[in-house]
Subunit: 208 residues, 2 copies
Amino acid sequence: MTEKRREKKEELKTRLIAAGTELIQEQGLKGLRARDIAERAGSALGGLYTVFDDLDGLVLHVNSRTLKRLETALNAALPSSGDLEETFLNLSLAYLHFALAERNLWSALFEHRMPDGVAVPDWHLAEHAFLIGLIAAPLARQMPDTSADDIAIRARTVFSAVHGVIAISLEGRFVGITPALLEREVAALARLLATGLQKEPSSRPLVS
Amino acid sequence: MTEKRREKKEELKTRLIAAGTELIQEQGLKGLRARDIAERAGSALGGLYTVFDDLDGLVLHVNSRTLKRLETALNAALPSSGDLEETFLNLSLAYLHFALAERNLWSALFEHRMPDGVAVPDWHLAEHAFLIGLIAAPLARQMPDTSADDIAIRARTVFSAVHGVIAISLEGRFVGITPALLEREVAALARLLATGLQKEPSSRPLVS
DNA sequence: CTCCCGTTTTGAACGTCGTTCATTTTTAAT
DNA sequence: ATTAAAAATGAACGACGTTCAAAACGGGAG
């Protein structure tokens, strides 16, 4: 009957992740407290540390779940056609809408930092890969004579550019902007990237 | 002789900001400790709170100085010609080089978050404006029949896109990239944005 | 059912942090 | 030299993440 034990622990883990998710959603990553998480999950303070090494471990798992939901949202936004402009546009707007709808959880994905010398574990780094893949696939179709490495790098650039526009806006570091205008800017950038990259291989070498 | 008092306090403020700057440079924003700052500035712990409301106040002043140095670096990179592509390219590469040379201080500009409900003070928000202005000026010359508001918004989009590429890369959230490749990507994006926006007003309406 | 012992859960306790404030020290005018 | 106001000090406070000795639990043997 060592199975029941594993189930109990798994259930606690689930409750802790759920509690952490809710608390980040409500107060942002910065307001996350170990005591609040344990209380909401209905466990003692120490229980958290029987499941995770530390708070960072829990945040990583919350982010992992957020990434999975982001992945399904973006996959649902993919157009049936392979048209690059439509793909970039749909993906970018879906990404924007996800960020707006899940502000704090989305912010936690990029705000979170490991302690000083500690690196993000590989299993969690790998979970980000689909973001590149979604862009790399149509890009590779468009640029058949570019190496997979270069495609991946360029896809990351495309993602980062769109992400940057959304992130800077939601951080509120500059003067505010309405969601409608933000949507316009994201759409404009997505289109610009698509049309610009379509001409790239012939009109300009990748390395300049 | 109430003047000497003000000077003493001003000097303490300078030492505290210098100490904070060094410590952020060495260990990043996350490792910043009030006790370390006070010790390095040669004051008692409480002295910090006679000058600043809290640690956030000091970080804001460190960031303020970083922004000023960034501003002179970017101004120095502006080409004499008003050519949009050359302007974007030079600014983007100068921004990248600044970020690489002052990694932790540059990161602190965007990592730093105010406490839960507190907003960034206006005087510090205003210090970010030059980043937009540097891009808006040549953009306005290129698009004379676009409103100043729309120019500012589009300039912010351009900045955010380039910033995003650099920030995502330096955060090391995805698979690493060499500085040379990063430079290539930033340059490619800068050129894409310049050439794309030059055609924008005639070929495609700003609002779609 | 009862006892037992390995496992799990618990929350008091620890060290560290940002921040405060009673006390001491310094300052400058008398 | 005296003194009252101002500034500097660092011990103390409350809150945090994390640990761990102790209590509670679970299930197999008698």
